[in-house]
């Protein structure tokens, strides 16, 4: 770990002011500190934002505004979240451990970096860590890597569970920065690697997340967060599915679906969502949507199984959502 300056910001404006080249905001630190220990992140300055008054969860415009510093635990165990956005709650509780969720912040969760082995290991080339050095994951140990939206520069995945739910819920990210405040629709917050995999999001330098807004609740009954992984808890998703449905009898009125563990960002396919709408909530409809989604998947040398797994997980996730039997967090049997 390198030596760094440490400053504590009292206001958002102070935090933005303190930002400069090589600076990083730090809240829970559950990812940044690890990355610093691995020499992946070497910030010259850490701006401690934990004292900013951004940890509230409040009703807002018919939805909910979650402060960027509200911990994952606070959000997951908030009664309003549990009642109106159980998909978010379940996604949060499907990730990490109780200890990590007590420390990790909402804003930090959005900014988690990939778990690609090569990104974490400074002994190996990685375009995300060192632009232009090459991607060692391509042709290497890429069982856990992306099948959608990859480039020849990077095949890493976005690791968050919470963000997959936020994508399906169509949240909005409120940010503040040198140019003032702005709102970023969740689908536009994270980006695909393209030629610049070093950039995970569309946040401008110095911009800070202040809140995440949830629109009016639409999926309090018909939702699921289904996460498939290499052990039954405390592992990143091989594939995860956040699904929310509004049903009119047996007909799908609205469908929102986001996949985790398969792309550089929470993966949505609006065509598939639109295709489901107006269709009967049956396995056949779900299979058709799943087929459409995985049609554009591209395997790497070791992760071809993810295509089939994603197809099956989408179908099961939509079945769980339609039946109103979301995946249990405590019972590891898949419903």
């Amino acid at each position: 770990m390198n030596r760094f300056d440490y400053v504590r910001a009292g206001t958002v404006a102070e935090a933005v002011q303190a930002f400069g080249v090589g600076a990083r905001f730090i809240a829970g630190g559950t990812n940044l500190i690890d990355l610093m220990k691995y020499e992946v992140e070497k910030p010259g300055r850490l701006i401690d934002i934990t004292r900013l008054p951004l940890d509230r969860i409040e009703d807002h415009a018919g939805g909910l505004r979650i402060g960027a510093l509200a911990t994952n635990a606070k959000v997951a165990y908030d009664d309003r979240v549990a009642e109106r956005y159980p998909l978010l709650r379940n996604a949060i509780l499907a990730g990490a451990s109780a200890q990590l969720r007590n420390a990790a912040s909402t804003g930090g969760n959005l900014l988690q970096r990939t778990r690609c082995y090569y990104f974490y290991d400074v002994a190996t080339p990685c375009n995300k860590r060192e632009p232009g050095s090459g991607c060692t994951a391509i042709g290497g140990m890429n069982r856990i890597h992306a099948i959608f939206g990859t480039s020849d520069k990077c095949i890493a995945t976005h690791p968050s569970d919470m963000c997959i739910a936020l994508a399906a819920l169509e949240a909005t990210v409120q940010v503040s920065g040198p140019q003032g405040e702005r709102s970023i629709p969740f689908a536009e917050f994270h980006r695909l690697p393209g030629d610049t995999p070093e950039t995970d999001t569309n946040l401008a330098p110095g911009e800070i997340i202040v809140a995440v807004d949830l629109p009016e609740s639409r999926f309090p009954q018909h939702f699921t967060y289904l996460k498939l992984r290499d052990r039954l808890s405390y592992a990143f998703a091989l594939v995860s599915v956040a699904a929310g449905l509004e049903l009119d009898g047996d007909t799908v009125k609205t469908a929102r679906l986001a996949l985790g563990g398969v792309a550089h960002k929470p993966w949505r396919n609006r065509e598939a969502e639109a295709m489901l709408e107006g269709k009967p909530a049956t396995r056949e409809s779900f299979q058709a949507a799943a087929d459409l989604i995985v049609a554009e998947a591209k395997p790497q040398s070791e992760n071809g199984f993810k295509i089939d797994l994603a197809r099956r997980a989408i179908v099961r996730g939509l079945e769980q959502a339609a039946a109103g039997t979301p995946q249990s967090l405590s019972d590891k049997r898949i419903q």
């Binding site: 290991d121 400074v122 002994a123 042709g139 290499d230 052990r231 405390y234 797994l309 898949i334």
Partner: protein, 755 residues
Amino acid sequence: MTDTASPQTFSSTGRDTFVGTPRSRIDGPAKVTGLAKYAGEFAAPDLTYGAVVSSSIAKGRIAAIDSAAAEAVPGVLKVITHENRPRTAWRDKNFQDAVAPPGSPFRALYDDLIVFSGQPVALVVAEDFEAARYAASLVQVRYEAQEPVTDLKAARGDAYDPPTKREGIKPPPAPWGDADQAFGTAPIRVQGGYTLANEHHNPMEPHATTVVVEEDGTYTVYDKIQGVSNSHQYLVNVFGLKPDQVRVLNPYLGGGFGSGLRPQYQAFLAMLAAQELKRSVRVTLTRDQMWSFTYRGEALQTIALGAEPDGTLTALRHDAVQGTSTFEDYQEVIVNWSGVLYRCDNVALTYRIAKLDTATPGDMRAPGAVTGVFAIETAMDELAYATGMDPIALRLKNYAESDATAKGKPFGSKALKSCFTQGAERFGWAKRNPEPRSMREGRELVGWGMATGIWEAMMMPSSAIATLTPDGRLTVGNSTGDIGTGTYTILTQIAADTLGLPMESVTTKLGDTRLPEAPVAGGSWTAASSGTAVMKACRNVGAQVFKLARAMENSPLANVDFDRAVFADGRISVAGDPSRSVSLVEVLQAAGVDKVEAVEQAGPDKDFNQKYEAYTHSAIFVEVKVDEELGQVRVTRVVSAIAAGKVLNPKTARSQILGGVVMGIGSALEEESMLDHRIGRFMNHNLGEYHVPVNADIYDIDVIFVDEEDKANPLGVKGLGEIGIVGTAAAITNAVFHATGRRVRDLPITIDKLL
């Protein structure tokens, strides 16, 4: 043997008070309150900190090292590399520790050659940890890399029979009969290839060494090791020290599983730096550096079984190729177990190794047996299906009553049949429908599988001291380590029973080279070895005290022979006449001695070993539930029935088996160190991506200890550290087959293998 033996006891009362009863571990409170100190936690007034710089290539040489930037960091004392390292011994034999395999042991910072990825190439020593670690990141190393070979499949063509056999590791026996011919003509045949992934031990406690330079110039070394004698010998030999110049301690171990059997490079580096700087030094490895030394090397195994329609084995062939490093011929017993477990007239067992550009593999909990028994016990399940027999019936049909790999010597004891019977009963095996995919609960397929486990019951030469003081306290101990198994507790129980004292009056000391020498804690031999030595030392103390008692004025024991003395409740009394007694405290006080002390040695019983072979056995029954569509496997029920001689402490014994089973579940479903063969590097080198079971993975585990009388040692114990893991993976693969109809022969069974 088992039928005629009388119940084993070793207290002079003829019954055990503490031994055989469930006792909480006496080191438990220290461990859960943080009072227990580990090797990287001991401090010294002038302590400095060493950080290791690790090689990023697997093979080649160091062209240049630039440590100027590191040296410029405030607080940095020295950057030690192969270019400026102090001189040490150089001959192989100086570096060969007590459990080293044949070859030329790795010597850190010896020269510019890189022989495995993660090899230490520099040690940065600084006044504080942060400076050392930061400076380590600034050391610039330029390599001339060569293409490494780490793919065992690519190297198997060059595999060889190791010319020098590793001490204590039985090479495969010569074949008997004609396995190939018999296989060719067998009416029923099963043949397959089996692999177990590379695994790393990953104890919670990282490897660490603290070398304290004492005022008189001697060294006190706290080393993460499973037996301090091994580190002591190593440091003395490598650094040319006199034995009394170094004291090595390791009172507690935060998990070893075999990774702490050999002194590792952090011990060498810490001592090197302490000598050079004349300062105390601590070197703690990072989690990713825990992938830079010993590991359970994958093995490529093939098995061919031929049988009659009634299940009688007519041919058994088990071949294994395993990786080793380029500089040592690591060996373990993988294939012999097949020949020990089953009676067959035509058997061929072979084991070869192939050189890889990795660190030397090493012993990891039940080394070899985990690997080989997984293969044979999966193959036996395949044979059960091929013959249409129940898996237990097939095993009983071919049950070995003697050890064919040891010229047919009988077993000292073998209560495996009881394991089958009691395990099956507890599990409800009789209700099993053998048809694959026949059992279902909702979306999950249910599978029941079983397997046999086996491990050697060994004893090693070991000594121990016992000291009784006039305050009535008994202190016992030796240099072996309690690696989390409960050794402190069982030795306390044994000592208390032998001299008839309450456990509270006994203090057990371990992990200190000032105590009598004992081997590393491994191989499941510690209970038998150290237990017997402690018992003998206590008996010797008892005899001395008895002599003093008889010599007392108006002694109640006057004219009593020692064989009539009974030690109980802190007193010596006369058998059959409890009114004649005297307390141990009174005896010592009357004699005016400040202590009564004895050092005794114990070792394997040569007569017994000439007549018998000694193994522990188990039968493991497993229920899995598999989501048919999504491939998720849950191990919902395990019954492990163990035959391991006398159980000294049912509570710590059960914990040993639970831990073994959990590790077996990891081996079957999760554990895999992923080697990128292009760069010869393990890539998932952290606990987030190298998966071991978490609480959610573990459901019901039921442990049964069946009665088994054994006389290999006076305690009647066989050891429990390894048997819990052996066979567990096979029982799981067999259950997965029963559930799904899919036979997975390559571990771990991750989701992708069941889609």
